[in-house]
Subunit: 251 residues, 2 copies
Amino acid sequence: MPEQKTNSDTRDRILDVAERLFMENGYEATSMRMITGAAEVNLAAVNYHFGCKEALLREVFRRRLGWLNDNRLQALDRLEAQAGGGALKPSQILEAFFGTLLRMGEDKTLGGMTFLRLLGRTLTEPAEFIRTFFASEYAEVIDRYKQALYRALPDVPQAEIVWRLHFMLGAMSYAIAGTDVLRVVTGVEVDDLAGERPVQDDDTIRARRLAQRLMPFLLGGLRAPLPQFDEPAGTQQELPSKAAKESRPGT
Amino acid sequence: MPEQKTNSDTRDRILDVAERLFMENGYEATSMRMITGAAEVNLAAVNYHFGCKEALLREVFRRRLGWLNDNRLQALDRLEAQAGGGALKPSQILEAFFGTLLRMGEDKTLGGMTFLRLLGRTLTEPAEFIRTFFASEYAEVIDRYKQALYRALPDVPQAEIVWRLHFMLGAMSYAIAGTDVLRVVTGVEVDDLAGERPVQDDDTIRARRLAQRLMPFLLGGLRAPLPQFDEPAGTQQELPSKAAKESRPGT
DNA sequence: GCCTCGTTCAAACGTTCGTTTTAATTTTAG
DNA sequence: CTAAAATTAAAACGAACGTTTGAACGAGGC
């Protein structure tokens, strides 16, 4: 019966290798034999320790998402405690949500950029078991942050906030999913551009740079003026009270 | 005279079905037998008409991306002509790039939302042949729009513009990839929120609504204030540092 | 010693994959 | 009309897939 008691390093080696290979090739294109071969364990070890391939993928995520979403909730708790019942600033909320994630990319013991890229790519996988798994893992944290954003932006229709949360998740996932995706479309390495220091092969620097660039973008999008709907039903109000509506970058 | 069952009928039926199934299941999880079965053609017809499965996927995209990127270039040509050598407004550039795409979602003869969702999901596929194919298909249009953005935002470092272009592509792809992805994370249907009229099953309305909400977000992100870099050894604000590294309490 | 039990191992299971083959059929052209 | 070419049909190919099997291994308690 597959029941783990001891902390066999076989189990962890499988998880580490699977995490990397799922990221590099995707779930379907990564075979059990690729995983067990790279991990130098027997082919049957995966089924013994995890049951089946689907369960292996779930476990790869469970061991990381547990930490991630726990810390996200704790970060939100801290903010709300020190706000003493008042509404939080949108920037605080985004920092707690996205910053916690991006900080995982700096810590190899938390999966580093490998896990972040895997997460970004897997969020678009259409397989049903993946979608339902993510839904259950994310349900609580998304609900808490949604409520926080509702309070932080009382003048913005809630549907609009959900849409923008969606947009932000997309921007983050693509940004995370790697330089790869960008290179596909732009044809260049981001790091090679505009006199920037060549990046050393260090996930810490990569993750920190990404965070520094992503957060302003997300905040700008979140606080953008509301769209004007071309429907007969009335005109929407303008921007939420926040400033920085027409701020041009630079200058 | 026999039926109009010409060869191109078989070819197009395969392409239409493959487009839909690749969108629903992803490339790897869609088998030739699923495609030929749903298209009601013989199994060998795919290999006869397209050569192999990879070439089929490429052809599915080629017939759409050709129109898309041609129109994107034409839209940019029009804008630059009427600007008479001057710089364009960022909103014009985004409208030409993303608006052209989103308008495909309103036109069933151009693939409609099915193709848009497929495109959004496929951009993250890690398979090498897909990446190189997209790189060649997108090379010209991306370069043109990049240059236009450089001129439109002369005070913004070019590396920053490339990053934000990346973020915008990500937000768009996720938004496009469907309500599915959002439902995974939020657990709700977007259309059910905040007193919005339930959407009728009409891709035209869906695509138009998406465009109206996405464009302000993208523009807000593109023009957000530039990030402050903490160049010397980490003197940034002390955010909730990594505490409680291995916590998975309750849940 | 022997027994137990969690783990590893080599081998094989049945299924499905993308592709090819061979023959029949339809379309095209002189 | 006839022959060649184009297209479809049915069956089979070998390879790879996820999974299962049953025996062997190795440490710990009696």
